[in-house]
Amino acid sequence: MRDDLIDLLWTGLLETLYMVFWSSLFALAIGLALGITVVVTERGGILPIPILNKVIGFIINTVRSLPFIILIVILLPVSRFIVGTSLGPKAAIVALSIGAAPFLARIIENSLKEVAGGKIEAAKSVGASPVTIIFRVLIPEALPALVRAATIAVIAITEFTAVAGAIGAGGLGSLAIRFGYQRFREDILFATVLVIILLVQIIQWTGDLTARSIQQRRFKRE
């Protein structure tokens, strides 16, 4: 073990957290918008627009079918356009957000579809508008499932940040590749892996805890 280890790890961790945080936020926003749109616009949904439904479904499937590493390359010009560079954490955030959003859209779609149709009918029967149904019925009723979906997505994004090291994104993934792999620094490789494992565990715990506490409040027994 050499004395630069802690410093390198710390910087890597901060970069990773920075990327994970913003990518998750953006991916979640885009994923929610897409997931909700898919659910409400499908035939028999609360705002059926079959054409829009098909188009969004197609976009989601297309992006999802591309391997992430290829997606990054395709998105390089997009990153340059949005954040002014195709290198570094900011560029990675663009790629990660767009790459993870369709995946999130699908799991959010599934979570929302779990909400019993009867609840939506009941809301309709008291005169609720589609917007009210989305924000006051669909999302609150699906919340525990949505939190679980978000947890899976944040973990997937954490893993992807490592791949994003390929465009010099920085973070723990780059650290492992640049030092661990290219310079044979095994101490850094193992330490990096350890920190990533810990990070994923913490994200999972936080997600589980949040989902469970919502669930318990609603389904407690006296």
């Binding site: 009918e121 029967s125 008291v126 005169g127 009723e141």
Partner: protein
Amino acid sequence: MITVQQLSKSYSTTKGATIQALDGIDLHIDRGDIFGIIGFSGAGKSTLIRCLNRLEEPDTGSIIVGGQDIMLLKGKELRQARQKIGMIFQQFNLLDSRTVFGNVAFPLEVAGKSKAEIRDRVTDILELVQLSDKAGMYPSQLSGGQKQRVGIARALANDPDVLLSDEATSALDPETTHSILELMKDINRKLKLTIVLITHELDVLQHICNRMAVIEGGRIVETGTVDKFFIQPESATSKRFVHIVQNYYANRFLVEGQGAGI
């Protein structure tokens, strides 16, 4: 209060066939009545009652509720009309994310009422359905009967003129069914509410309905008072219903007569 004319509705199945669920329904329901619609499974009961607030979109026909043709309404107008047509369901359909209070408050939020108005109204309604002590509980903590009381409270929150009930007691045990029917009778009297209820249980009809209709294969085959239905059944469905009940009583009498008891 409600006049339905030539109401038809068909479903197309995935195999390309069409099912004529409702076939030229004519119906008149008086203000303040408790009107029963009975029929066997698949007769079209749910489709009919769901057309009354356009949860189901009819193909043709007119539906006048309180002088307003529901079929001519769109978007916001339809949603406003629905605020005056309460509905309760067999599976209760309460929101698990909200407490009893929150569930009853929901229609009032939809109607754009203020926090203070909502608090007062929910308090009153919960008292009416005898659930004042359960306001802070979640649906999962309630019994079936209590859940249906919340369903009724929610349906009544915006002070509707009509209450639609789709097999509201079919998931409940006989004793709870009785108490829910008594509650419906009570609100019918106190609030001068017109109630349309769908059932496949004769007990329910006998207990609270005044007038009724029999539905069979998407058509109304008989209308009249509940008494007439039991004394002088005309349609095949009515005869079958009454026959089943008579058989039941006859058999019970026989078994009891032999000393077996029930």
